[in-house]
Amino acid sequence: MNITFIFLAVVAAIVAWWLSQQRITAKPWLEAGSIVDTGASSRPAAKIGLGLFLVIVGSLFALLISAYSMRMDMGEWRPAPVPKLLWLNTGVLISSSGALQWAQIAARRGKMDGVRAGLLAGGVFALAFLAGQLWAWRQLDAAGYYLTANPAAAFFYLITGVHGLHLLGGLVALGRTMDKAWRAVTAGELRLSVELCAMYWHFLLLVWLIFFGLLLLTDPIVSDSGLVSLICRIL
């Protein structure tokens, strides 16, 4: 559960920071009169909503990864060797995230062409990533690590599957943003949507990197060094 605890500690830190902005030691009964600053954020509600949503999704992945590492500690753990294809997929996902970052910068500068190019590239790379993940599934399946082979394989399919579904959901939002981008609205009107997409993509990239890192650390071929097993024990 250590990953979940780290995650919860991060959430607790955010909550503590937020509470510290809310003057929770003030004595409200002494303060009759008007107060201009209610402590609400100046960011748009949609961004705060997405931020909160990512915390929830973060909780989901923290728990999945915790379950994975807890099960790993219980012995009889026979994971599949990490498919080399995953390195390529990681690169594709980074490119996808980078393209959306590009679109976001272009939107801030008001360059519509850049926004369109960034969104399109981001979408194509994301689809390529999903295709690559499916291909990796087929490789594992062919190598005998099918879904019901053992818990290690099942966890791999589950976590990559949940991650892929989240990316698929993101593609729906991205599609709607692209739709708007081609219906000739100004870059300013698109800016929020593009920023939300970029934020979501960066988050899913982070989740992927953490999970991929864990896979590499526990890869039966690589993981005989003392450092790796030490880190595993901490996790």
Partner: protein, 589 residues
């Protein structure tokens, strides 16, 4: 009293007014409606309807326990299906949905001074996904083999194996329904939290919020963080059941046959389940804490005692509730040192909880107590909550839990603390806000009758039940039969408890009659019948119209508890009433 701030009245231009969605047809006004108040009613009616099913199931359970073998329709399989569905419906589909989806939707926008939730469309989806979850749950009653009978904790391996009723379809539909519920709840929860964060009107700081909003707000955050654990557990078990993975399934030999499972860990499920399950207790309790604080303060005409401490205690309970889940697993064979940790964290959480109880009763001290029906329910809550809370100190203390766990003591404990106590608050809350929701007042005599039967009856059901647990009577027994350690007099006690349960259940019909009858025949209530300070009572229309506030949003000048302020003419000052002596524009004379 010190006045602060230099700006007397904030110009309306400083706060952007949100653009409201306006319904265009009957369907978008009453069915696929985006108005939080309508969604609240939809949530409440759905939750209470499915809750009534669970109530009837509890009668069957009690009939079987008092008169084992008398009723032919209660077979062992049915019995386990009844207890499973009763627990699951009451905890998740009734209490969670009613407190957050019902009270949350109605009260948050009104109490923080907003026109609606920040994402009304998502809010509407939230209800309909919840509704779908309820339909799937109901469908499991009609599926071949009936609903699952795995116990509400759904522990694998038993939950998905033969030997447990509802193994074919029931368990699949149950897990699907839970997954839907969590998705629907997440949509609503995002709304409740962001509306509190960003939707507050001018002058409404966090520390000026009524405790009801604080309670629902913290409970929603807990739920949003905890429900993913149930989501993960449900998805994994669904895969185990449908596709044959072995997340939770070790090598099993059942009835001489080697099953194809192997390598999974049932205890992993318990960790995930209770990582959700314990915060779930507080997801139900914190809104109740908040609402009861406001009921007591309003009807005792006195500010809630120790407001700041109440807020801090809520936050402390919320944080601690994430590190106590292991106390549900003391005898599950988990690593013994965990017992030390979880017992300590569990008993620590009793301290902020006790502080809340002290502050409620200290609010009564030197108050001006009006024993209205909502107040009666609030006081009844304190009795049952204190009772259920101290039995929690038994079960939380690891070694005391060893003999008592899995006995009727546990059943009595959690019904008292998270069944009866929150339900009394639900009743109190409904009586309290009914005049605002409908514009009419209920019948007081019927309300008092409802209170006395429910409160005393519930106490008579659950207080003696603890003693069955002391004897050692285990829970989840279709039939205990003749055993040396249980005296025959325990059977008499069971009959008494069943009689009380039937009476209490039947008395709820009086409540529903009162609500429906008053809807048409009740006296007109007026805008603020309780002379309360919070914003929902200050709306220009009662019931509040679409958009809540007419042309202009209210401006808040004070905290939510200015009751019986020395020097003030009335014994309450509404939150949107400016300080008297510095009114910039006096009434033209």
């Amino acid at each position: 009293m010190v006045d602060i701030g230099t700006v007397e009245v904030i110009p309306p231009a400083e706060v952007e007014d949100v653009e409201l969605y306006h319904p265009k047809s009957w369907v978008t006004k009453y069915v696929f409606c985006q108005d939080a108040k309508v969604i609240a009613i939809q949530y409440s009616i759905t939750a209470i309807s499915i809750g009534l099913v669970a109530l009837v199931l509890s009668w069957f359970i009690r009939l079987q326990l008092a008169f084992p073998g008398t009723f032919s329709f209660i077979t062992p399989s049915n019995y386990y299906q009844f207890i499973t569905m009763h627990g699951m419906i009451m905890v998740i589909y009734l209490l969670t949905a009613l407190f957050l989806g019902g009270f949350g939707n109605y009260l948050i926008p009104l109490m923080v001074g907003a026109r609606d939730m920040v994402f009304p469309y998502v809010n509407m989806l939230s209800f309909w996904v919840y509704f779908l979850a309820v339909l799937v749950l109901v469908a499991s009653f009609f599926a071949p083999g009936g609903p699952t009978g795995a116990g509400w904790t759904l522990y694998p391996p038993q939950a998905i194996l033969a030997g447990t009723p509802g193994q074919d379809w029931g368990i699949i539909l149950m897990l699907a329904s839970l997954i839907l519920f969590i998705i629907g709840f997440t949509m609503g929860g995002l709304n409740y939290v962001v509306t509190v964060l960003q939707g507050r009107t001018r002058g409404m700081t966090m520390m000026r919020l009524p405790l009801t909003v604080w309670g629902i707000f913290t409970a929603t955050i807990l739920a949003l963080l905890a429900f993913p654990a149930l989501f993960v557990a449900s998805v994994m078990m669904l895969l185990d059941r449908v596709l044959g993975t072995s997340f939770f399934m070790p090598a099993i030999v059942q009835a001489g046959e080697h099953l194809k499972y192997g390598g999974g860990s049932p205890i992993l499920f318990q960790h995930l389940f209770w990582f959700f399950g314990h915060p779930e207790v507080y997801i139900v309790a914190l809104p109740a804490f908040g609402i009861v604080s406001d009921l007591i303060s309003t009807h005792a005409r006195k500010n809630i005692f120790g407001y700041r401490m109440m807020v801090w205690a809520l936050v402390a309970i919320a944080v601690l509730s994430f590190i106590v889940w292991g106390h549900h697993m003391y005898i599950s064979g988990m690593n013994p040192p965990f017992g030390f940790f979880f017992a300590t964290s569990t008993l620590i959480i009793a301290i902020p909880t006790a502080i809340k109880v002290y502050n409620w009763v200290l609010t009564l001290w030197r108050g001006d107590i009006h024993l209205t029906v909502p107040m009666l329910f609030a006081l009844g809550f304190i009795v049952t909550f204190v009772n259920g809370g101290i039995t929690g100190l038994f079960l939380g203390n690891v070694i005391v839990d060893v003999p008592l766990s899995a006995t009727m003591f546990v059943v009595a404990h959690f019904h008292m603390v998270m069944g009866i106590a929150p339900i009394l608050v639900v009743f109190g809350g409904i009586y309290h806000w009914y005049p605002k929701i409908t514009g009419r007042m209920w019948n007081e005599r019927l309300g008092q009758f409802h209170f006395w039967v429910t409160f005393l009856g519930a106490y008579l059901i659950y207080f003696p039940m603890h003693y069955l647990g002391f004897i050692g009577v285990p829970r989840r027994y279709y039939e205990l039969g003749e055993t040396a350690f249980v005296p025959p007099s325990a059977g008499t006690l069971n009959v008494f408890i069943t009689a009380a349960a039937l009476i209490v259940g039947a008395a709820q019909m009086v409540f529903f009659f009162n609500l429906i009858w008053s809807l048409f025949k009740g006296k007109r209530a007026g805008g603020n019948p309780w002379r309360a300070t919070t914003l929902e009572w200050q709306t220009p229309q009662t019931p509040p119209g679409h958009g809540n506030w007419g042309k202009e949003l209210p401006i808040v000048y004070r905290w939510a508890y200015d009751y019986s302020v020395p020097g003030a003419e009335q014994d309450f000052l509404p939150q949107n009433q400016p300080p008297a002596k510095r009114m910039p524009v006096a009434a033209p004379s």
